[in-house]
């Protein structure tokens, strides 16, 4: 009996095979490309969307206002405070004579207010503000891009923390089972019956609300759903023959959990991954929408939605945010689906 006579993909490493399986899912693959382009370019938002110029040549010397703060006096102005490059006076100073300026493509960041707007705020899309301004005169395009970046980073962090804690507790419970499992299970039940939203409201009034506070608070509760599934997988797996074989081999508990049980218990983790990420984005957005989330200076999709609700006739607020949210969630789910298929070694 000889093995492998009929198979063609012999010397391909497991990781490479998973990548090939991922690529075979066209929708997921295209989604990954799109998402990567959007996300990576949003990481450079400071260069693309900024009210400060990238480079100023003033009297033969180079300045980098987007990275460093210069007082207005540096450019021959009157004030000791940081130069406001959107001010026509400052602009005149730095462009006069041989001086020149390189501006970012969009000359607003998420907090810059367009004082030159001809229309009252929220102003509709114009050549100055491509997607209009919000009710405080800030550029919606810039806020959307910064908000997208923050939401995605927030979701990644929250999901990663939730998965790590969830897997750890689930694995320990499932593998050692017995009394330890019983005690932890009761603790989880008590913990999960805490009113999450209520706690958030209380904490929002005690502490200065910030993105870090939100991550910590949501992480305290986010792991429980997953740990139940991982626990069940470990419980099922610990009595399987290959685990017993590993024990007979003299493997330590930690190695058995890590090499045998964990890879085979990843199904719930991977299945829920896209939904957890999009769920985290939605959590942040809804908290901001309710005004319980990040402070108003932080660029946030939820805050934009709330503004859209307040100014229902300003369609550019709600529509833009809506499209960004739907697009992000859809791309993430498609990628997650493809990932799930790619990590299933039983598929050829």
């Amino acid at each position: 009996m000889s093995a492998g006579s009929e198979s063609g993909h012999l010397h391909i490493s497991p990781g490479r095979r998973a990548w090939l399986r991922f690529k075979a899912n066209r929708r997921g693959f295209i989604s990954l490309w799109l998402f990567s382009i959007l996300f990576i370019s949003s990481l450079f938002a400071e260069v693309l969307f900024n009210d400060k110029p990238l480079l100023v040549n003033y009297q033969g010397e180079l300045y980098f206002p987007f990275a460093k703060s210069y007082p207005e006096t540096a450019f021959g102005g009157d004030f000791e405070t940081e130069a406001d490059y959107a001010d026509p006076y400052v602009r005149e100073l730095i462009t006069a004579g041989d001086n020149w300026v390189i501006d970012p493509p969009i000359r607003y960041d998420f907090n810059a207010i367009n004082f030159q707007s001809e229309l009252p705020y929220p102003a509709p899309p114009s050549s100055q503000n491509l997607l209009g301004t919000d009710d405080r005169g800030r550029d919606v395009f810039a806020r959307l891009v910064y908000g997208f970046r923050l939401s995605v980073l927030f979701a990644f962090a929250l999901t990663a923390i939730g998965i790590v804690i969830g897997i750890l507790t689930g694995a320990v419970q499932g593998y050692f089972s017995g009394r330890l499992d019983l005690v932890m299970q009761r603790i989880i039940e008590v913990w999960s019956s805490m009113p999450e939203l209520y706690l958030l409201i209380i904490f929002a009034s005690i502490f200065q609300p910030s993105i870090w506070l939100l991550i910590i608070l949501l992480s305290l509760f986010g792991w429980m759903g997953l740990s139940d599934y991982v626990r069940a997988e470990f419980l099922r797996g610990r009595n399987l023959d290959y685990v017993r074989a590993a024990r007979a081999m003299g493997q330590s508990n930690r190695a058995i959990m890590r090499h045998h049980l964990l890879p085979n218990s990843m199904t719930p983790v991977i299945t829920f991954l896209p939904f957890r990420i999009s769920g985290s984005i939605m959590a942040l957005t809804s908290l901001d929408f309710l005004g319980l989330g990040v402070p108003p200076t932080t660029p946030s999709l939820g805050e934009l939605l709330a503004q859209g609700k307040e100014n229902i006739e300003a369609w550019w607020l709600s529509l833009g945010t809506f499209l960004v949210l739907v697009g992000t969630l859809m791309l993430l789910i498609f990628i997650g689906e493809a990932l799930r298929e790619a990590l299933d070694t039983r598929k050829s």
Partner: protein, 538 residues
């Protein structure tokens, strides 16, 4: 000869898959006469079950094509019958029983309700009448105290009883044909005999025909009137049972008949080194009840057993399911807690804590019954085989490790390209070879073989057994060989112990125990699986 009941002509079945069509059945023709027992015998993948399911068109329509063939029943071609017509037939004219009585019964309903369901559906009975008939049926299939048992749930019955319930359900509408798909495979040997006898009695009583699907050629010898041997989707030989066994025509049939394990074991001298010695091993499980988990009794899974195992020796452990043979093996390897003394060379391993035990683990290895669950599905073969090496021989370089893995794989009959593949890409026999490679690479002294061939086809069984014998000789291995299949144990073992309810009923050399059993229980076991066949052959 009686009239033809059902005619199958040139039946072809293909499965539609993503990689193309697979021809499972390639032109099969056979007849079943009235009151006849026909057996289709073949190994897994031969298309025997596919053929049987086709008679009732039980395949998933979206996945299966019937490119050719006719199935004539009652002047009607079932191939072109509508789904409604088929539904009338199923369970009424033609009924079926399956291999796994555990999963074919719904665990949430009492068995009586499930029997009554068929009666109500096909015979329009009301609940009371159906219940009375169900009780009669249970009585007829040999369930004691049927009035009481009718309200039992499936988990309260033993495997044999569940299979009897399945048969009762199948008989509910007096079918003219009963299709039995591996009806005894999941059962103990003595129970297997009883079930077959029951089928034969019922057949004589009602005059129905039985189509028996099985992989075990010897099982059908006394049961079937006619035997069809299937191989790769075709019937390679079809003859009356007597004719087939006396004078098999086809090469494959002869091969199947021949794949009985043969005795090929090396001599053991009483002076050979003792590897494992155990005295009065006990494994008791406490039965606890109530809120405070008070101990109310205990299950004596292993009760006062002594064992001596010499180098190069195979000790067979036989017994029916639940007799404690696996628990005994696990206790000897310190995989379950036990009391009593266990010595391995100079180590009193029964007193060793787990930490002290771990470095010794490599000397004790296990090969499990089910090669599908014993290999981690997310690891490549190389990772699986390398795991123990990394643990117990950490000094090996990467290339040295690779060399040893390739060498061991070659030893168990696998190519080098197996390294990068996952277990699911291999057949059952190949997987069992991987499992053997994983153990042998650690240079163990004792291997616990827990039903290593029970999940395999007969011909593959033989190959794996001869591999195990070869390895035993070349590596001077000692085997603890657990099996319910006495033929295999007889072929492999030097000495044997017979277990029942945790106790050793009889022990001694293979010849002593099997040819001159002293105990009634051993005689029963031997009769069920060994002597009948031998009496007929000789």
């Amino acid at each position: 000869m009686a009239a033809k009941l059902i005619q199958v002509e040139n039946l072809k079945v293909t499965f539609k898959t993503q990689v193309g069509d697979i021809e499972a059945v390639r032109g099969v023709s056979f007849d079943i006469h009235q009151s006849e027992n026909v057996a289709i015998v073949g190994e897994s993948g031969s298309g025997k079950s596919v053929t049987a399911l086709s008679l009732l068109k039980l395949h998933d329509e979206r996945r299966v094509d019937y490119p050719a063939g006719r199935i004539i029943y009652n002047n009607q071609d079932l191939m072109i019958a509508s789904e409604t017509e088929m539904r009338d037939l199923r369970g009424k004219d033609i009924s079926m029983i399956f291999q796994e009585p555990m999963t074919s019964l719904n665990p949430l309903y009492p068995v009586g309700v499930q029997i009554q369901e068929t009666l109500k559906l096909h015979r329009n009975m009301d609940s009371q009448a159906a219940r009375d008939v169900a009780i009669k049926l249970l009585d007829r299939v040999g369930i004691k105290d049927p009035k009481h048992k009718i309200d039992s749930f499936p988990h309260m019955l033993s495997g044999g009883q569940r299979q009897r319930v399945m048969i009762a359900m199948a008989l509910a509408c007096d079918p003219v044909l009963l299709i039995a798909d591996e009806p005894t495979t999941a059962l103990d040997v003595t129970v297997q005999q009883q079930i077959l006898e029951l089928l034969k009695d019922l057949q004589a009583e009602t005059g129905m025909s039985v189509l028996l699907i099985t992989h075990d050629l010897h099982l059908v010898r006394r049961f079937a009137d006619r035997v069809c041997v299937m191989h790769r989707g075709q019937i390679v030989e079809q003859a009356s049972s007597k004719e087939l066994f006396r004078n098999p025509q086809n090469k494959y049939t002869r091969y199947l008949l021949d794949s009985e394990p043969e005795t090929r074991i090396a001599e053991i001298k009483p002076t050979d080194k003792i590897v494992v010695e155990a005295e009065s091993i006990r494994v008791y499980f406490a039965i606890r009840k109530g809120f405070f988990k008070r101990k109310v009794g205990e299950v004596r899974a292993v009760d006062q057993i002594d064992i001596v195992l010499r180098q190069g020796e195979t000790l067979g452990i036989v017994g029916e399911s639940g007799s404690g043979k696996t628990t005994l093996g696990m206790a000897l390897l310190r995989m379950v807690e036990s009391s009593g003394r266990i010595r391995f060379h100079d180590h009193e391993i029964s007193t060793y804590p787990e930490r002290q035990m771990r470095p010794l683990r490599r000397f004790f290895q296990i090969v499990f019954q089910d090669p599908f669950s014993s290999l981690s599905p997310r690891m490549t073969v190389e990772q699986i085989v390398a795991e123990g090496l990394k643990l117990h021989f950490p000094d090996l370089s990467k290339t040295q490790r690779r060399q040893r893995i390739v060498k061991t794989l070659a030893e168990v009959g696998l190519d080098e390209d197996a390294l990068w593949r996952y277990p699911h890409e291999f057949s059952g026999g190949q997987r069992q070879r991987i499992a053997v490679a994983r153990t042998v690479i650690l240079e163990p002294e004792v291997i616990l073989l827990d039903e290593p061939t029970s999940a395999l086809d007969v011909s593959v069984q033989k190959q794996v057994l001869s591999l195990l014998s070869d390895l035993q000789v070349s590596h001077k291995l000692s085997y603890l060989f657990i099996s319910h299949d006495l033929r295999v144990v007889r072929a492999m073992s030097h000495r044997v112990i017979v277990m029942r309810d945790g106790k050793v009923v009889e022990s001694g050399s293979v010849e002593q125990v099997f040819d001159h059993p002293q105990q009634q229980y051993t005689r029963q076991l031997a009769q069920a699986s060994l002597h009948n066949e031998w009496l007929i052959t000789n």
